[in-house]
């Protein structure tokens, strides 16, 4: 009981001190404050990726603080934790909307959170740039505030087909899907693009999610002798299919979407995973020298290795700051409105980022978004980046 009271009292003191300090800051500086927020899960199951988004954005902002100081603005970063929960995301969005100093948002990580939250942003005209949303619905609603710099889900299937037909030279392709919205959508998109590129579809089969024995489908593959196999679905089934196919002597390359872009795939398929291909919307930043140097700087600053979306969040923030600067200049050095920043973000053209080049189309999709092809060269995750496909 006594401990608890002490605890509460000390918390209250700290809170009061914090408030006073904040007040002091406000009063002491004559510079106008501009805040950029980030929204990503900082707690829970996907907090590792969410944290990476926050840190990537923070890094870009801190690098350019001085630049904005010269223009007479005090740039500040306010990270929010959306807990990968749509309800929390919307509640944060309301808080952000109420804070008039926040001009833009980097995030969200999850499409499911971005979709409801962006309705709030739209109401108040606050632009958001997502480093990782892939669901088509995110930008298909044509909200003026919503932008993303990665590829859409409906580009992944066609990109995989282009790789299979143009790069691997597949002519006779067997397609398997798991009857889910994700798996079937991906497999259908792959199939129609592969057909358009002139490949024949040797077979199109579905499996049941949750089962472990896929020998029936693999027997069909054995008799059809395809030179390429594509699977639309998740790693639990993909792992079994790869394993059972290799056990039966099927040597054709097997490819999947981002549903198998996980360490679980290696765990289920074991050594047999070697040679399996998958697509992903994020690049391996350490492939280029500049990227490697950047990743080292990141590591030095935060003591953490870069994650898939760190560099994308970094690009999002830089892109926002560029737009902000232009909006300030267009406003004769005065504080622009949120709407001006919003329109300036959408007008981004040929932005050269660390991970990707960005030009937004009228929906907020990135015209330069690419899909990256990885291969498991050893039985370990992640695989090695072997190719990229652009629109």
């Amino acid at each position: 009981m006594g401990m608890k009271k002490v605890w509460i009292a000390s918390m209250a003191v700290m809170l009061a001190a914090g408030l006073l300090a904040a007040c002091g800051n406000n009063g002491g500086s004559d510079k106008k404050i501009i805040k950029i927020a980030s929204q990503s899960p900082l707690s829970g199951g996907s907090s590792v990726q969410g944290e990476a988004i926050k840190l990537g954005a923070q890094m870009a902002l801190e690098e350019r603080k001085a630049e904005f100081e010269k223009l007479g603005f005090d740039l500040q970063f306010t990270p929010y934790d959306d807990q990968a929960d749509p309800k929390k995301g919307v509640a944060n969005a309301e808080t952000i909307a109420a804070d008039k100093q926040i001009m833009a948002i980097v995030g969200h990580m999850n499409s499911g959170v971005a979709i409801p939250s962006s309705v709030v942003y739209d109401k108040y005209g606050i632009p958001m740039v997502s480093p990782s949303n892939t669901a088509t619905e995110v930008t298909d609603r044509k909200l003026k505030v919503v932008n993303r710099i990665v590829a859409r889900d409906d580009f992944q299937g066609p990109a995989a087909a282009q790789y299979a037909v143009n790069t691997v030279g597949a002519k006779n392709i067997f397609v398997i899907q798991d009857k889910t919205a994700y798996g079937q959508g991906l497999a259908d998109a792959f199939k129609s693009e592969a057909e358009k590129l002139g490949a024949t579809i040797a077979g199109y089969e579905a499996i049941t999610i949750g089962e472990k024995d896929f020998n029936g489908v693999i027997t069909q593959i054995l008799s059809k002798k395809p030179d390429f196999i594509f699977f639309g679905g998740l790693y639990a089934e993909a792992g079994q299919i790869v394993k059972q196919a290799r056990d039966k002597g099927v040597t054709a390359p097997i490819m999947g979407g981002d549903g198998i872009d996980t360490a679980g795939m290696v765990e289920v398929a074991g050594d047999k995973v070697v040679g399996t291909l998958y697509t992903s919307v994020s690049t391996d930043i350490t492939k280029t020298d500049a990227g490697k140097a950047w990743a080292d700087a990141y590591k030095q600053k935060f003591g953490k290795n870069v994650d898939g979306y760190s560099a994308y969040a970094y690009d999002c923030m830089n892109l926002i700051l560029n737009a902000l600067k232009e909006a300030i200049e267009a406003n004769d050095g005065d504080l622009p409105t949120r709407e001006q920043v919003r329109d300036q973000v959408r007008a981004t053209k040929d932005f050269e980022g660390m991970a990707t080049k960005v030009t937004f189309d009228d929906k907020g999709d990135n015209a330069y978004a690419k899909v990256f092809v990885y291969e498991f060269k050893a039985a370990s995750y992640p695989g090695s980046l072997i190719s990229e496909v652009s629109k």
Binding site: D247, K248, E267
Partner: protein, 328 residues
Amino acid sequence: MISDLLHSLPQVLVDGLTLGAVYAVVAIGYTLVYGILELINFAHGEIFMSGAFIGTAVMLMFESAGWLGAMPGWLAYMLIMAAAMLVTGLMGVGIERVAYRPLRSAPKLISLISAIGVSFFLQDLVRFIAELSTGSYLISSSTLYNDNLQLRVSKLGGSLGDAFLKTNTVILIVVAVLLMVGLDLFVKRTKWGIAMRAVAQDRETAALMSINVNKVIALTFFIGSALGGATGVLFAQQYGTVDPFIGYVLGIKAFTAAVLGGIGSIRGAMFGGLFIGMVEMFASANLGVLTSGNFGGEYKDVFAFAILIVVLIFKPEGLFGKAVKEKV
């Protein structure tokens, strides 16, 4: 078309026999309990799943202790089987004691609901333990006897294709057959087997003949569950990965197999299991060919269940079941 069917036939037979053997042994667990209590023990699929998890856990333990390399593969296999059979057998006895015996005189429907409850409980219990100890409920372990074999059926001539299998496939089929033959002998030849059949026929009269009914029922649950657990180990070794939900679909199919063979009949369950396994594998490999791509392999279960419905229309007691007159 015919040549396509023939080409894949050897492979379909091998795979169908493998899956069918698993269904058959699990189906026996359903049929034993039904024969003696007229209760459909819906928790049996989960007993099978628990066996798979216990087998995998023991396997991982051996691996991390470094014993796997030190002992011969067959010994490790037998130890894992024994551990899983013992634990699942005791689980079966415990479930009967806690969830079914207090309800024995209650209407049948009440015990059925209790069984469904136990099934959900086990699913989530295993998921909880697995996630707590490894962080994921999908658990993979290394498998013994993993080398691939090729049956060169194509040398027999005709348009037959080769069949591929693992050494473990052979072990799975052999062990399943041994379990089934052993059970058949036990029920037909031993004192306890005779007591089991007596209780199945008429519980009250059997009790009057100085048979300890509670003990016999507990024994039945032990045997049925141990068989389920052993199959779970075979399954885990065959596919390498287990999750807490493998018992659900497999349990329903094994139950179907038991009904097809005539629930209450042990040989019926064996036949039903093998039959469903074969039909499923045949349909999943050939439906696309037969219907020129209109219906793919995903309709394999529809195919299997349609056969069940046809059989039940013409022979409601199942293929090997005896038509029982309703007692008045």
